[in-house]
Structures are given as structure tokens and as C-alpha cells.
């Protein structure tokens, strides 16, 4: 399995507090992604990164920010958490992007509850 570690695995916090989720990879892959998964919605892309300090928005980026200061780490921050951000968050990596479809490899997720 791809070396992807998400931390924390579970977190409960209160509305209005800042939250940072970490994704760490040991594969040296260039591309990293953050998704959220909610019942009835499948996985939705929040933000992605195509290199150190290179990030862009996905489908549901409002209320989230990301940073990538090193190849191996991709951080997702909720500046002021809201109850609507209660979800399971998945990090994914891929070796490359382009004409040939490069499969993504996923971490085991972070279950975040915002009360």
C-alpha cells in the first residue's frame, strides 16, 4: 500500500475553532489531494497540490485552506470550523497527471466532528 498517513484519525472540536489536518506521504509523489466524503455525495475534491507551494481549489473549497511547504506534507486547515464541515476527510496522492490516467492512492481518512 502507498505510504500515506493522515493525522489525527479522529477529532472532535467546537464550532469556531481552527482545525488542521495533516497528510504525510513517503512516496515522493508530486500530486496531493484533499477530499471530503459525506453520505449521498461520494467524495468531493476540496483542494489539490501539484508541487511544493503550488495549490489550487477544487469543487468545495470554501472555508478551507491548504499549504504544502514540503513534498511529503499537505495540510488542510479549517480557519473557523462550522458544523457543516463535519465529515470524513481523505488525502490522496498520485505520481503524475496528464494524458495517461494516473490512479490516486488514498489514506485511511480523518473523521472530524464539529459540535
Amino acid at each position: 500500500d502507498a505510504g500515506i498517513t493522515q493525522s489525527p484519525r479522529h477529532k472532535v472540536t467546537e464550532t469556531g475553532t481552527p482545525v488542521t489536518l495533516r497528510c504525510h506521504q513517503t512516496e515522493n509523489h508530486r500530486y496531493m489531494y484533499w477530499y471530503r466524503q459525506d453520505p449521498g455525495h461520494g467524495l468531493r475534491l476540496i483542494h489539490y497540490s501539484y508541487g511544493v507551494k503550488d495549490t489550487d481549489k477544487g469543487e468545495v473549497s470554501d472555508g478551507y485552506s491548504v499549504s504544502r511547504s514540503k513534498t511529503e506534507d499537505f495540510l488542510l486547515t479549517l480557519e473557523s470550523a462550522t458544523s457543516s464541515q463535519t465529515s470524513v476527510y481523505f488525502c490522496a496522492i498520485s505520481e503524475s497527471a496528464g494524458q495517461a490516467n494516473q490512479p490516486q492512492h488514498f489514506g485511511d481518512g480523518t473523521r472530524l466532528s464539529i459540535l
Partner: protein
């Protein structure tokens, strides 16, 4: 962005072959077809990928007709441990923007 349609759920029995079909009528020339499997409390796991005709690996086979407007994931002799959600994705994965996961197909394997 190619939209996909697949059954919401399927039931099968242990030892049977399971075929899950995905429709993708507006697939583009450079799009690949990728299938993932997801167990509860885990992230999706890559199963198989193809562009045309048939692809087989140690886990599954993927059948893609000439017009590429659909694809069929075939799981031979399923076991209880194959109970999971299966996602069909179509796209070139340009920076993940075209990776749109729908609700998938929930496969239940019964004893």
C-alpha cells in the same frame, strides 16, 4: 467532464461472478476508465484501469466495448470480503479536477 452512471446497489452470493456496469456516454478520446473499491472506514483503493477492450489483473477484469460508452467491472467468485462500495471514474486526471466520485455501487455479498 464525463459523467458516469452505475447502479446504486447490488446483491450477490459467495462464489458467484459479479458484473457492475458503468455508463459514460460522453467519454472523451483521452479519458481512461478507473475503478476503485472502498470498505467502511477506509479510503478508496485502486482496483483496475483501462482504455479499451479488456484488462485483467489478479483482482478483477474490466471490459470496455469499442464505443467506450460503458464499461463492466467483473469480480470472479466473490467472497464476503468483497462487500464494499465500487466507484467508476472517467477522466484524464488533470490535477484531480476530473476525478469526480459519484455515489458508487454498494455490493453486498451474502453467504
Amino acid at each position: 467532464l464525463a459523467k458516469t452512471t452505475q447502479p446504486i446497489s447490488m446483491d450477490s452470493y459467495e462464489g458467484q461472478e459479479v458484473n457492475i456496469t458503468c455508463s459514460h456516454n460522453n467519454i472523451a478520446t483521452n479519458d481512461y476508465i478507473t475503478w476503485y473499491q472502498q470498505f467502511p472506514s477506509q479510503g478508496p483503493r485502486f482496483i483496475i484501469q483501462g482504455y479499451k477492450t479488456k484488462v485483467t489483473n489478479e483482482v478483477a477484469s474490466l471490459f470496455i466495448p469499442a464505443d467506450r460508452k460503458s464499461s463492466t467491472l467483473s469480480l470472479p467468485r466473490v467472497s464476503l470480503s468483497d462487500t464494499a462500495v465500487y466507484y467508476c471514474l472517467v477522466g484524464p486526471n488533470n490535477y484531480g479536477q476530473n476525478f469526480v466520485f459519484g455515489p458508487g455501487t454498494r455490493l453486498s455479498v451474502l453467504p
